[in-house]
Symmetry: C2
Subunit: 461 residues, 2 copies
C-alpha cells in the first residue's frame, strides 16, 4: 500500500493503542514468520489489543485505508498463515489471554483468543474437566480455531470444528458478531461458527471462543507397541477403528521416526521398528476391556514389546516424546530442514497411501520419517533436506506434490489439520474444483476490499 | 412471477422431464404444505428429477427466468421449509433414492438425497452398521441435512452436522459442486459442507450426501423410569451428562404427555408421572456399568417403576411409543391442533427453563405436554389449541414467543432442530443480531436473484 496511507494508519493506531502499537524491527521480525519455512514478510506494525472493542477499532482504521490485517497467536502455524505477505498490521492476541468463564455444569468454557491450550488445561485442573484438542504445539485457541486444528485426541474427541460451540468475530468492516450460543445444538440459520473455523483470518478475526470440555476420565492407560511392518501397524489401527474401539489416541511412528526419537532423547531406547502410541480413556473396567481388545488385535498383526504407562508421569513422558517427533526427526540429519506434508485419506486407503509414499521416498532417495494421527487417516512426512541444495528441495516438493495428488485420488484431502495459508493454495483448486468459486464469492462478499489476511486461502483477482 | 415466464419455464421443463414434470392439482397440493400448520402455497409445477444433472438443468432453466426453486423430500419439515410461498418449481427428490455406496471399512455411506433414514438403515442391516440421526419422522437424508435435523440419538452420536462428511450441491446458477471428501477431517478451505447443512435450500439443492455410520453396539438396553416431578427427572439428566455417562438416548416426557401416551395406545399403562426414556449402548459389561450408574443417579431423585427392554421387539415398542408422542399429545384433546415449540438451552438452565415454561402454560390456561431430547438441553411443547378459536391461537403464539425469549436469555437458541423456514424468521434477528447481516450477505452473494427457496431463513430486500 501507499507509504502515506500506511503512515496514517500507524499514527491513528498509535493514538488508539499507544505503546501497544509497535513498529520496532525485532517485534516486526517476530511476526514475519511461522513455525515452518515459508518466505518471511514483515508487517508494517504490530498491534497488541486487549479487548474486542480495540480489535474492532483497529480493523475500522485499517478498513478506511484498505490496509491488510493479519491475526497472530503464537506463530505455530505451518503453512504461512500468520505471515503478512502484503504488509499491513499484525494483530497479536497475546494480551487477550483470559479464561472468561468455565461452566462445569455445561461442560464448556468461554475464552479469549490468546489463551493457549496448555494454559486452559492448567486453569481447568481443579474442575476435573479437560479441553481435548491437542495439536502438539502450545498454540492459542484463536489460532487453533482459525486453522481448524486437531491432533492426537481427535480420533475420540474431534477437531476444533467439533469442539467450538460459538465464536465472537470482528468482521472486515469492524462489526462485532456472535456466531452462536452455548446451546449444544441449533438449527437457527447458517452455521457461521463453522464457516469461520478454518478460515485463517481471511473472513474475520476471532475475539472470543466458547469451547467444549470433557470430564477427565476415571481411568487412563497409555502404551507403545512395536510392529514388524508399517502395514501391520496400520492394519491394527484399521481393525480397531472398525471394531468401534473408542481409543483416545492412536498414533503411528515409522521405523525411521523411531530411530530419530532414540537419537533425540538418549533416555529412550525403542526398538527401531514401526510403533503405535496408544491411549485409552474410560472407567476402570472399560479401559481394561479396551486394552484387552486392542491387545488381541495387535497380536494378530505381530504387535509386540508393549510398554504400558498408567502413572501420570510415565504417560506425560510418553506423549512428550510423541510431541517432540518434529525435533526428533530433525536429529536424523544435522542441519537439515524439514518439508512437512499433511494428507488425510479414508482409513481403508491408509495402508496403501503409506506404502506408496514410502516407496516414493525410497525411489527419490530422500530421508522422510512418517508420523500420523492414523485413527483419522491423517499422516505427516518430515522430508529432511539440505536447505542449501536446490535439487533436494525440488525433489521434496515433487514428493509432496505427488502425495497430495495421491490423497485426492484416494478420496482424501491435501491437508488434514495444518490448513492452507500460502503453502497449500496451489492444491486447493485440484481438491475443490468449482467449489473454490463459492469460497471466492464468500470471501469477496464478506471482505470486499480484501484486507483480511490477503493472499491466503483463496485467490482474489 | 409473470404468467408468460412461468409458462415458458414449465414448457422448457416439460421438454426436459416429460411426464416427470407435473402441473396436476393433486400433486401441486401435496407439495403445498409440510407436517406443521404454516399457510399452504402451491408450486406452479413439481419436477421429479432422477439425476444430479437433471437437477442442474432444472435450476438453469429456472435461473434464466428468475423462477423460484424449492426442494422437497417427504414433507416432514415443521416450520414451512418446503412450502413454495412465492410459487415456482418444487423439486421432489423421491426418485433420487439410491444408496450409491456403503463403505463398511470407512464407516460411511454415499446416498442420494431422497433416501430416507429408515430405508438406509434397512439397506445397512446386513453390514452390522447403522445411521444414527433419528428425528422421529422417516425423513429424507437430503431434507434432514437441509434442516440440520437431529433427534433422540444426538446426545451420543451428534446431529446431521456431525454426521455429514460431504455434500454434492446444485447452486443457484445450476453449477454442481462437491463440498468435501471422504476424509474424516480436513483443513482445506472454508467449510462449505457445514454452510449448506441447515441452509434449508436457500443456498443450493443437496443432490448427494456422504454420511457417517457407526457399528451396531454389542449390547443395547433401554428403559423407562418414572419420577415424582419434572425437576427430579431433569436433575437426573443433568447429573448423568455431567458424570460423562455415554447414554445413547435420554428423553423426557412430562406427566401430561404420559397421559396422552396411555390414551393414544390402550396397550400402554404408564404411571401418569414425568418419565425418562433411556437407551444405553456398549459392550455387555459397559452397558451393565452404565445401567448401574444411571440407576444410582435416578434413585437419588426418586426415580422408580423402571421398565427394562433388552429384547429388540420390546425396545422397538418403547421407541415407537416415543416417536408417536406427537399423535399421543393430540389425543389429549379431540380436534385440537398443536403449535409446536423447539427451544434448546445449556443443560444447567434446563430445569429452570422447563419450570418457567410449565408455570406459563398453567397461567395461560393452555394444555401443552412437554417432550424433549433433554440430554441436549432441547425440549418441545405441543400446545393443543382449538383451530377455530383465534383467542387460543393468540395465547399459544404468545407462549411460544415468551419461550423463545427465555431461551435466548438463558444463552440458548430458538430452534434446536426444527429449523427456521418461515416460522422462526421473526426470532432469528433477536438470536443473531448483526450476524443476520452476514447471513444475508452470503445469501445475496450465492443467490443474487433470490430464486432458491425465497422468503425463507433470511429476509432479502
Amino acid at each position: 500500500m501507499a507509504l502515506d496511507s500506511i503512515e496514517t494508519v500507524i499514527s491513528e493506531l498509535k493514538a488508539l493503542l499507544g505503546e501497544r502499537l509497535s513498529t520496532g524491527s525485532s517485534i516486526r521480525n517476530l511476526h514475519s514468520h511461522d513455525a515452518a519455512y515459508a518466505t518471511p514478510a514483515q508487517p508494517d506494525a504490530v498491534a497488541f489489543p486487549e479487548t474486542t472493542e480495540e480489535v474492532s477499532q483497529i480493523v475500522k482504521v485499517c478498513a478506511r485505508y484498505k490496509c491488510p490485517v493479519v491475526p497472530y497467536g503464537v506463530g505455530t502455524s505451518l503453512e504461512g498463515q500468520v505471515i503478512p505477505i502484503q504488509g499491513g498490521i499484525s494483530i497479536d492476541t497475546s494480551r487477550m489471554n483470559k479464561v472468561l468463564a468455565v461452566n462445569p455444569e455445561d461442560l464448556d468454557a468461554v475464552v479469549q483468543p490468546g489463551v493457549t491450550r496448555k494454559q486452559l488445561n492448567t486453569e481447568l485442573r481443579a474442575t476435573g474437566l479437560m479441553f481435548t484438542v491437542d495439536p502438539g504445539a502450545d498454540a492459542t485457541l484463536g489460532g487453533m480455531a482459525a486453522t481448524r486444528a486437531s491432533g492426537t485426541n481427535t480420533v475420540r474427541y474431534g477437531t476444533m470444528r467439533e469442539n467450538t460451540l460459538a465464536l465472537e468475530v470482528v468482521l472486515a468492516d469492524g462489526t462485532i458478531i456472535e456466531t452462536g450460543s452455548r446451546a449444544r445444538k441449533s438449527s437457527a440459520g447458517y452455521d457461521l461458527t463453522k464457516l469461520m473455523i478454518g478460515s485463517e483470518g481471511t473472513l474475520g478475526i476471532i475475539t472470543k471462543l466458547t469451547v467444549r470440555l470433557y470430564g477427565q476420565p476415571e481411568a487412563i492407560s497409555a502404551a507403545t507397541c512395536a510392529f514388524p511392518t508399517v502395514d501391520d501397524a496400520v492394519n491394527s489401527v484399521i481393525l480397531a477403528i472398525q471394531s468401534g474401539l473408542p481409543m483416545a489416541r492412536i498414533e503411528l511412528l515409522d521405523e525411521v521416526q523411531m530411530k530419530g526419537m532414540n537419537i533425540y532423547n538418549p533416555d529412550l531406547s525403542f526398538p527401531e521398528k514401526p510403533h503405535l502410541f496408544l491411549e485409552f480413556h474410560g472407567s476402570d473396567a472399560g479401559v481394561a476391556e479396551q486394552v484387552e481388545a486392542f491387545g488381541d488385535i495387535a497380536s494378530e498383526f505381530g504387535g509386540e514389546a508393549f510398554q504400558w504407562a498408567t502413572k501420570t508421569e510415565d504417560r506425560n513422558r510418553l506423549w512428550e516424546a510423541r510431541h517432540n517427533a518434529y525435533y526428533a526427526a530433525m536429529s536424523l540429519r544435522q542441519g537439515a530442514r524439514p518439508v512437512v506434508t499433511d494428507v488425510c485419506v479414508p482409513i481403508s486407503a491408509l495402508a496403501e497411501a503409506i506404502n506408496r509414499t514410502k516407496a516414493e521416498i525410497a525411489e527419490a532417495g530422500l530421508l522422510a520419517p512418517v508420523v500420523g494421527h492414523v485413527g483419522d487417516g491423517n499422516f505427516h512426512l518430515s522430508i529432511l533436506i539440505d536447505p542449501e541444495d536446490p535439487g533436494e528441495l525440488a525433489k521434496a516438493k515433487s514428493l509432496a506434490s505427488s502425495l497430495n495428488k495421491m490423497a485426492l485420488e484416494l478420496e482424501g484431502t491435501v491437508t488434514g489439520e495444518h490448513g492452507v495459508g500460502t503453502g497449500k493454495m496451489p492444491y486447493l483448486i485440484e481438491e475443490h474444483g468449482a467449489a473454490m468459486n463459492v469460497m471466492a464469492t464468500i470471501k469477496k462478499a464478506l471482505d470486499p476490499d480484501n484486507i483480511m489476511n490477503p493472499g491466503k486461502m483463496v485467490q482474489i483477482n
